[in-house]
């Protein structure tokens, strides 16, 4: 069965500095990987997704993630944090051939310091 681990429950960065949210996964087959963002009192929204094409995936609002099969990682990065990036971020693994087809991580709360 597949699984996903978000290594940090909370991350704090200063505005204008880089963001790194870490995600490791396990999957028996070829997974699809996603990052979703949940702003306070708003619905979940897709940031970006990897579906076996280019390993470096660019998303909305300047975010990007790199699929590294050898490290089973899909870390989310952004060069310069903005106050509006403060939210909860979820890493998601989807594997049609796995036992649990869609698995969300527990989430990482991103805090932006002025």
């Amino acid at each position: 069965a597949q699984s996903v681990t978000q290594l940090d429950s909370h991350v704090s960065v200063s505005e204008g500095t880089p963001v790194l949210l870490r995600c490791n996964y396990s999957s028996s087959y070829s997974p699809s990987l996603f990052w979703y963002v949940q702003h306070p009192n708003k619905g979940l929204q897709l940031l970006l997704k990897y579906t076996s094409a280019a390993t470096l995936v660019k998303g909305i609002n300047g975010f990007e993630a790199e699929f590294k099969k050898s490290e089973t990682s899909f870390h989310l990065t952004k060069p310069s944090a903005h106050m509006s990036d403060a939210a909860e971020y979820f890493c998601v693994v989807s594997d049609p051939l796995g036992d649990d087809k869609i698995i969300f991580g527990k989430g990482t709360r991103l805090h932006i310091l002025p």
């Binding site: 989807s94 087809k101 991580g105 527990k106 989430g107």
Partner: protein, 114 residues
């Protein structure tokens, strides 16, 4: 384009009572998902429909939870009888196709069981 609609937005019930949630997906989306998100955790997939057929309900507590998707459009999720541990946000999402497609989430229904 209208988003995923859910109702009610909030519901408070006593344990052992019944409750039902409604979801209207984005027009033309074949796949519909129901998730349970307990406070401080990531969403957990309860059931997934492809048109009006069930694709995956492996994590649905079938002794008390039921769901249906009539005519492959709207869906209802029911809990009968409710337990204290069912307090959570119930999210509905839809996508055009299957697991690699972007999911669009509704605002959720916050259930409190007293």
């Amino acid at each position: 384009e209208a988003g995923v609609a859910q109702s009610p937005r909030y519901k408070i019930i006593e344990k052992r009572q019944s409750v039902a949630f409604w979801c209207n997906p984005i027009s033309g989306h074949a796949t519909l998902y129901w998730y349970q998100q307990i406070l401080g955790q990531g969403p957990k997939l309860l059931i997934q429909f492809q048109n009006n057929g069930v694709v995956d309900d492996s994590q649905l507590p079938k002794d008390r939870f039921s769901a249906e998707r009539l005519k492959g459009v709207d869906s209802t999720l029911k809990i009968q009888p409710a337990k204290l541990e069912d307090s959570a946000v119930y999210l509905c999402a839809s996508s055009l196709g299957f697991l690699t497609d972007t999911q669009y989430f509704g605002p959720g229904t916050r259930l409190t069981v007293l």
